[in-house]
């Protein structure tokens, strides 16, 4: 019997599947009100794409919050920076963007995402050292310091790139829509959904199949004990913070191409949504963040179609509803 076989014959612990069905329940409730099947498919596809983008942005925030207990109101700066990286990466490669070639366009997107990971990860390192380190364990000061940090970052972006909104068209192959019957699904939304899924699968595998992932999951629950087992939690913190910033940057790239524009305050505008998602999901839970992001995006799209005025408060209503059902979020982590 190998080490991994112990208890293999035993049933695995029962998984809490109910939250996974929540998006399906929401879709099933919305479907009859929407009426037209093609509108429903289009709205659902749009919701999934938006959900994947928000998940990508918020996953780093929930990990950093869960593990480091840091309220980072500067997370939006990483999103904005990612968007500017997209603008910078696209500028010299206009010919790639304009070529109606899936391989070239995908290569451009991959290059841009890689650049955002590097730039935002490094910016995250600087931000953690300068802004976060002095306020570890002090929530009120964290709020003030990170809001201050985000203002400085935003103004720096304005100073570097000017106050104007920068237009950013997606690559040629990503424009237009796939037609399925009467339903139109924008190609770029499919691309964004796939990128978000890759991020989710990658994160899930990293967290569940690697020792670093185990350490992160353990650190979210009890940092002190991880340190007492012989691991440098501070280094782990830096790594997680950099990864969170990098993920926010990836989200910023995807969002900029989705909205086809870049401006320094876009990250700040998305921050509230990110916080709603990680609170709904359970602080520190990547799986909860994934479900939460899909829920938020679906409801945003359905409400926007059915009752545009309600869309403004629909997500707050969703958060209240989820917290009444599960006060610590869909998938609470440890004692949080």
């Amino acid at each position: 019997m190998t080490v991994g076989d112990f208890g293999a014959a035993l049933p695995r612990p029962r998984r809490d599947l109910l939250p996974i069905f929540a998006p399906l329940i929401v879709a099933a409730i919305a479907a009859p009100f929407i009426g037209s099947a093609s509108s429903f498919v289009t709205l659902t596809a749009a919701g999934l794409a938006m959900g994947m983008m928000i998940f990508t942005m918020a996953s780093g925030l929930t990990l950093a919050f869960g593990m480091m207990d840091v309220l980072n109101f500067g997370h939006g700066a990483f999103i904005s920076l990612g968007a500017y990286v997209a603008a910078l990466a696209f500028a010299p490669l206009t010919s790639w963007a304009q070529a109606d070639s899936w391989p070239l366009n995908l290569a451009l997107l991959a290059l841009t995402l890689a650049a955002a990971v590097v730039v935002c990860g490094l910016f995250g390192l600087v931000f953690e050292r300068l802004v976060i380190v002095p306020v570890y364990g002090q929530h009120l000061k964290q709020i003030l310091a990170t809001i201050g940090g985000s203002i400085v970052a935003e103004q720096l972006l304005y100073a570097l790139f000017g106050p104007d909104v920068i237009a950013l068209a997606p690559p040629a192959s990503f424009r237009g829509a796939f037609l399925i019957g009467d339903a139109a699904i924008e190609k770029y939304r499919v691309v964004a959904t796939l990128v978000g899924l890759v991020v989710f699968v990658g994160l899930t595998l990293a967290l569940n199949r690697t020792k670093i992932g185990l350490l992160i999951r353990a650190g979210v629950q009890d940092r002190e004990m991880v340190e007492a087992l012989g691991y440098r939690v501070d280094r782990l913190f830096v790594g997680v913070f950099m990864a969170g910033a990098a993920l926010a940057g990836v989200g910023g790239v995807l969002w900029a191409l989705y909205r086809q524009q870049v401006h320094a305050s876009m990250g700040g505008e998305l921050l509230v949504l990110c916080f709603v998602v990680i609170i709904i999901g359970g602080l520190g839970s990547v799986g909860g963040c994934f479900i939460g992001a899909i829920l938020v995006a679906l409801i945003d799209n359905y409400a926007g179609f059915l009752a545009p005025k309600l869309a403004l408060v629909a997500n707050i209503g969703l958060m209240v509803g989820v917290l009444l059902w599960r006060p610590r979020g869909l998938y609470p982590v440890g004692g949080r």
Binding site: M1, G7, P13, Q221, E227, A228, G230, G334
Partner: protein, 240 residues
Amino acid sequence: MTARLALDGVHTHIGRYHILQGVDFDAPAGATTMLLGRNGAGKTTCLRTIMGLWRPSRGTIALGDSAISGLRASAIARAGVAYVPETMAVFADLTVRENLTLAARDGPLDEARLQWIFGFFPTLRRFWLSRAGSLSGGQKQMVSIARAIVEPRRLLLIDEPTKGLAPAIVGGLIDCLKEIKRVGATLVVVEQNFRVAREVGDWVRVMDNGRIVHAGPMAEFADDAALQARLLGLSLDSRQ
């Protein structure tokens, strides 16, 4: 493999509170030293200070020939010290296997070592793939101790291992502590249950008000009821 632990004039402040006020004691290599005392005497703070979870404000702590005072907890752990906290501190959302995998710093889990651990705690085999948070208090304590011994360590710091456990489980724990010592480790154990302390302890150090007020062989202390009453108080719950 085992090492003597020595504390010399150790002071620890937590916030504005002066908890350890010059602790001097040694734990001989390869023996089990019981750290006893009334509630609030500073026993847990003493273990946490040795482990590096609180920084001593003064004094030195040495493990064998190496000074470990002032080091980070991770460095102290890598020097061969394992800690079983009073709260057990199992990672509730991780399985039993994942809890032990994390504790095995030097590589994958060693199967022979695991079989040795399962000898004391057969329950762990049954719940190998279960979330640690779903286990009972006694089972969590088994995970916590198993985590500390999943690889050989020079010194084990164990805080109230039998607290709140059923008598049937306590027997297994006593056997486990004796066996850990036999295979080569120094143990410092905080324990409120005097019967357990008497059974596993070779040496005893009694704390009061942040200082060591008595040191000697456990057997002598166990035979001196007057000394026990004076140092530990009549309220000691388990003279049991």
